[in-house]
């Protein structure tokens, strides 16, 4: 069998310019995670009360439900304030954490003009494709990504 090149989805890249200092932006993104992460964006059975990012390599990022239960999204892989952050994202297409799923979200903070450019790259997306055989229909269903995104957008615009 020939070595056909492996086909991988290109990483998702998004950037946003923030009128704030590099330090402040990094601080809000990490320490202030709970202030902007959507409350309805939850993978737990219990309603989400807070969202937490432990600010150290190997730290967890997780949500705490109203009932006190903790549900983990993944881990902090790289923590280099105020410049760079890499999160391991382990939430699969079925909207549940899979400890064996490994996709990476890298976020960099670059001073630019009177603010900071925040670049986000979500990569290794091919890993999703290997784990969704039994979860067809989860994405896009009411309460799945698209439903949560609508709620998130409404909240963020308030």
């Amino acid at each position: 069998m020939t070595d056909a090149p492996r086909i991988k989805p290109a990483p998702v890249r998004r950037s946003v310019f923030v009128k704030a200092s590099q330090e402040h932006a990094f601080e809000v993104f990490t320490a202030g995670f709970d202030r902007w992460w959507p409350r309805d964006h939850s993978i737990a059975g219990s309603p989400q009360k807070t969202a937490v990012m432990e600010r150290k390599v190997g730290g967890r990022w997780y949500e705490v439900g109203e009932d006190g239960s903790e549900t983990q999204w993944g881990e902090v892989m790289v923590y280099e304030p105020p410049r760079r952050l890499v999160l391991i994202w382990q939430v699969g297409a079925d909207w549940k954490r899979d400890p064996n799923l490994h996709t990476e979200v890298e976020v960099t903070f670059t001073p630019e003009g009177d603010g900071v450019r925040v670049d986000l790259e979500h990569r290794m997306l091919e890993a999703f494709g290997e784990r969704v055989e039994d979860v067809i229909g989860a994405i896009g269903a009411e309460g799945g990504w698209s439903g949560l995104l609508k709620l998130f957008a409404a909240e963020a615009e308030q």
Binding site: P5, I7, V16, A25, W36, E126, I136, I139, A156
Partner: protein, 103 residues
């Protein structure tokens, strides 16, 4: 079912991924794809049908045979899913980051 669902499901099967990945080098016929794969031609055809339904590959007749190629727009569905998510998340983040430091 959305395109994203179909795309994810289509590449979830290991053999189907192999079929899909073989097309990475360029368009191939069913027979060419089946060469070296431990599955029959009818099985390859079936996998190709699923990939086609998911919008991941396209096919066209070429003489007496049918040639398959990767649809460059197919994987876009998966990416679009996350693209929208992170775009919205960063917007919310920007609002919060700027709000707290405005004088």
């Amino acid at each position: 079912m959305t395109n994203v669902n179909l795309s994810l499901a289509a590449i979830a099967d290991p053999t189907r991924r192999q079929v899909f990945e073989r097309l990475g080098a360029g368009p191939l016929s069913v027979g060419e794809i089946a060469e070296g794969l431990p599955v029959s031609r009818p099985a390859v055809s079936q996998h190709l049908k699923v990939l086609k339904d998911a919008g991941l590959v396209t096919d066209r007749p070429e003489g007496t045979r049918r040639v398959y190629a990767i649809d460059p727009h197919g994987l876009g569905a998966l990416r679009a899913w996350l693209d929208q998510f992170w775009g919205d998340a960063l917007d919310a983040f920007r609002i919060e980051a700027e709000r707290k430091e405005q004088p």
